[in-house]
Structure formats: structure tokens, C-alpha cells
């Protein structure tokens, strides 16, 4: 059985950034495994711009951002297995993969980095009743078909969901000659960023219908229409408010879920709030030597933040195989971070103070829109740290920096992170 220092699973921006960071820390035997025919992951279909403003200080498209990392992988001569699917990983850090050249093959690793990304919620996940005709796509599938495979998905389109991918696809479909009848949001506010509402919908006069949802998809072979209903304050459809809209295509942009089947096969503990592994500040999971980064941990807004997190994981994995992280096993009294009032999640969920860094960043998401507000980290009723914000919304990840010195005496403690309204 071949053995490697580090095996990275997934060749998107997270996996590439982790592999690059580990190599830059001096790790020699690295292998990256990717199931697609090329590196780059989902960025290859995100042809729009807005990537790289933080990391490269340039406004890049997805493929441009991706190509910079692919070049870096080549410069550092990091080996990759493409067209290769990982079937299973174990807590003992064995990896079973399969491809057409080698068949099913087992390798072992000093450390594993999980970078499998996320997948889209589909029609089944949101339970839309009706018939099962062709013409129902998730936004990401439509994006890949149009931008890479060269197939147009439809002519008259109804979109459900206002995630950023959906907004961007509404513009993309319009540019390619389709009529987007409307974009529906079940809630009274859009899920994506306002700037995407402005530059994708308003620029092209695409109606945004807040507080609406699809209650039935009609059509036998192909979609012929949808029944749209108003929603109440709990985002539930109001009976009697249904109207029929004729369309040939329904596009769903209804959320993303971290893809963690492999994590589960190794017994990695998942956080119900993120859907991804519970990680510490070096992005080590609950299983020693298995690290995770990017959208497999929590769904990020920006690839810039994905690569930042992945560099942490790559360095963490390097530290583990180089023996610097041994203390992680010994200093077994981590601080736990728990999402409290107003918070959807907080990452990392545990801190062990093992890296000797002066500070560490918390990434978190609120579960509703806030105006003037603050994020507070509390311990036993005391506020350990407070960060004021002018506004917060669930579509934007928040970041909060904690000084390690403030945490030293809190070993073993539970810290609650909350969002609070502030007057004035």
C-alpha cells in the first residue's frame, strides 16, 4: 500500500489551497484526489466576476481565480489523481479510491484534508408537489450545462430561491436569450447579497417577488407551468392565493449542504448547525489527523474566505505530520463555542490553543436580519468579547477576532456566541 504524508480529497479551491499551504510548510509527499476531469471545482462554472478581491486584490472570474491555483499546484509539483473518486476513508487514515487506470486502490496518509465542498438542495429537499416533468433544474446544474457543456436549459423560466447562484443565473439566462418570468423568495427579504439583486435582477428588469413560493409544478413530459402562492409570516403558502404562471423551466436556488458522506465513514463528528465537521482552530476534526476546510465545513460566501480557511487546514495538517501538533492529543481540554440567540452557527466549534497564534478568527452567520447590533462572546454571563455591527444578515458571513491571551484561563469552558440588538 502506497503511503503519503498528506492526502487531500477534492481539487477545488479549498483542496488546492490546502495542498499548496502544506507544501509551503515543507511537506514532501502530498497527493490530491479529484473526481472531475480537471482541477478547479465549482469555480470553473462560476464564470462571473467578483472573486479574488481579498486574496489577490483583483476582480477575477471563477475560472481565472482557479487557474492561478492550478498554476501554483504545477509549480510546486503536487501530484493529483484526476477522474478519481474516493469511496471510503477510515479513522486510521486509509483511503480507498477508484479510477479507470488503477481500479480500486487503498493508500494510507499521515494526515487527510477533507475538501469535498457542498452540494445543492434539490426539489426533493424542499418538497414541491406536482408531476415530475423534465425542465426542473438546480441553479448549479443549469450553470454547468450553460457555461461548460453548452446546453441551454429553457426559454421561459421561473426561479425559486434568491441565493446568490440563483440571482447570477437569472442574469445569465437573460443574457442567453431566455425570459426569466420572476424570481421568487419565500421570505420577505432576498437570501443573496443586495448587490446581486441590483446587478442581476434590477439591471435586467427581472421581477423579484418576495413572500411567494411554488406550490405545484405542472406538466407531463416537460414543465408547462407552476402554481405560485403568497406566503405568510412563517413563510408558509396561503391557501387560496395560488396563480398559474406558464413556463417551460423551473430553476431552484434553495440552499447548499456540505457534502460529508466520506467524513461520516471515518467517524468524524458533524455539527448539526453547519452540516459540516466540528473543527478546532487548526481545522482538525474530531478524528486525529483528519482536517477539513472550505464548503465541506460550512458554506462560505466568497472563495477568498475558503482559501484562507484552507491555508489554515493545510498548515494544521503539515504541523500534524511534522509532529508539532502532538500537544493536541495531550492538551485535551478544549474550549467549546456554541451558537446562542440569533446565531445559525459558529466555526471553529472548538479551540485548543495549540498553534501558539496570538489571535484567532471566528466565522459565524446570523439567522435573521439585524440592524444596529453586536456579536457577543459570553462565558458564565460575562462578556468576553463584543463586536459592534451596523447591520447583519444571514447571507453574509461575519468574522470576529479573539485574542489568545483572553482565552488562556478558559480551558474547558463553554462559550456562547450571540447576536444582540443595540439601541441608537
Amino acid at each position: 500500500m502506497d503511503s503519503y504524508d498528506i492526502v487531500v480529497i477534492g481539487g477545488g479551491p479549498a483542496g488546492m489551497a490546502a495542498a499548496v499551504a502544506a507544501r509551503e510548510e515543507g511537506v514532501q509527499k502530498i497527493l490530491l484526489i479529484e473526481r472531475d476531469r480537471e482541477l478547479g471545482g465549482i469555480l470553473q462554472q462560476c464564470i462571473h466576476n467578483g472573486f479574488g478581491l481579498h486574496h489577490f486584490k483583483e476582480d477575477l472570474t471563477g475560472p481565472e481565480f482557479s487557474e492561478r491555483y492550478i498554476r501554483r499546484m504545477e509549480e510546486l509539483e503536487i501530484p493529483c489523481k484526476l477522474d478519481t473518486t474516493v469511496l471510503e476513508i477510515t479513522a486510521g487514515r486509509e483511503i480507498l479510491y477508484i479510477n479507470a487506470r488503477e481500479g480500486a486502490t487503498k493508500v494510507s496518509a499521515g494526515a487527510i484534508v477533507l475538501a469535498m465542498g457542498c452540494r445543492e438542495r434539490s426539489r426533493g429537499a424542499v418538497n414541491i408537489p406536482g408531476s415530475r416533468p423534465a425542465g426542473v433544474f438546480t441553479a448549479g446544474t443549469a450553470q454547468r450545462l450553460i457555461n461548460m457543456e453548452g446546453y441551454m436549459v429553457g426559454r421561459r423560466i421561473m426561479m425559486l430561491g434568491t441565493g446568490d447562484i440563483g440571482l447570477i443565473m437569472a442574469r445569465r439566462l437573460t443574457l442567453e436569450g431566455a425570459k426569466v418570468i420572476a424570481v421568487l423568495a419565500r421570505k420577505p427579504y432576498p437570501g443573496g447579497l443586495m448587490r446581486n439583486v441590483a446587478q442581476c435582477l434590477y439591471d435586467y428588469d427581472i421581477p423579484l417577488m418576495l413572500r411567494h413560493t411554488i406550490v405545484e409544478i405542472q406538466g407531463r413530459d416537460r414543465v408547462t407551468g407552476v402554481l405560485v402562492a403568497d406566503t405568510d409570516e412563517n413563510s408558509r403558502p396561503i391557501p387560496g392565493s395560488e396563480r398559474l404562471y406558464e413556463c417551460d423551466t423551473v430553476i431552484l436556488s434553495v440552499g447548499l449542504i456540505p457534502e460529508n458522506e466520506l467524513s461520516l465513514s471515518a467517524g468524524v463528528q458533524l455539527d448539526p448547525h453547519t452540516g459540516g465537521p466540528v473543527v478546532d482552530e487548526s481545522r482538525q476534526t474530531s478524528v486525529a489527523g483528519i482536517f477539513a476546510c472550505g464548503n465541506v465545513v460550512h458554506v462560505h460566501d466568497l472563495v477568498d474566505f475558503v482559501v484562507e480557511e484552507s491555508e489554515i487546514a493545510g498548515k494544521g495538517a503539515a504541523g500534524f505530520v511534522q509532529g508539532r501538533a502532538e500537544r493536541a492529543e495531550v492538551d485535551g481540554t478544549p474550549i467549546h463555542l456554541l451558537p446562542g440567540e440569533g446565531l445559525k452557527y459558529v466555526v471553529p466549534q472548538r479551540m485548543r490553543g495549540i498553534n501558539g497564534e496570538a489571535s484567532l478568527d471566528l466565522f459565524l452567520r446570523v439567522n435573521r436580519v439585524y440592524g444596529r447590533s453586536a456579536i457577543e462572546v459570553r462565558h458564565d454571563g460575562d462578556t468576553v468579547k463584543r463586536l459592534k455591527r451596523l447591520r447583519m444578515n444571514p447571507g453574509e458571513m461575519e468574522r470576529m477576532r479573539l485574542q489568545s491571551s483572553a482565552l488562556e484561563k478558559l480551558n474547558g469552558a463553554d462559550l456562547i456566541v450571540e447576536a444582540v440588538e443595540v439601541d441608537g
Binding site: 472570474t61 481565472e64 487557474e67 453548452g150 439583486v197 446587478q199
Partner: protein, 125 residues
Amino acid sequence: MSGIDREIICIVCPTGCRIRVSGPDTEHLEVSGNECKRGEEYALKEIADPRRTLITTVQIDHGTLRRLPVRTNREIPKQSIFPCMEVINRIRVEAPVEVGQVLVADILGTGADVVATRSMGRNGG
């Protein structure tokens, strides 16, 4: 009604400020609601000369994929977007292509070039 009174959602950064621009004419405009200087610049430009980067794909022959992603290398006037799409939809390129390669120079006299945003090798090569 004379004068200008518009609300513009800033697209410069993810904050998405709602900026109000008002005044009797384009020479005397007041800008409010922006949280930074870049917002003011954007809002005034949006009134005087709204521009966008155009991003789409072109047909590619013998490439590893059927579509090649492209962008304008600078912003073009908003009203040129659909006319430029018509030009871009007519072109057809041959693999291999390098990232940054110019596919249409100075499209419709906008001063912007249409460039490839990724490299793509030949299928099977």
C-alpha cells in the same frame, strides 16, 4: 417632473448601500446613504455613465469543453451589453486557447477587448 432623484444600490462591495442621488441637474447632485467614498463615486457614475463588465461564453471547437468563458477586460456602457452579446454569440474559436487571449479587440468601439478567462487544451490532446 424635473431634476434627479434616484435610489441606487451600490454594487462596489457586499455591504450593498442604498444610496440616494438627488439634485436639480447632473451638475448639482447630492449623494447620501453611502458608507464610503467609493459608494459616492459609483452612484455618480451610475447616473452619468452606467457601466458593467460583460461576462459570457463563446463556442469553442476541439476544446475539452464546448464553451469557453470570456469577459470584457474593462467595463462597457450598460446599453452596449446586448449589442455586444450579438457579436460574441457569432464568434467561434479553435482550441487551444490561453487565459487572457484576446478574442474580439475593441468590441463595438467600446475600448474593451473580449478575452478568454481560462486556458483550454485540445480535446484528447
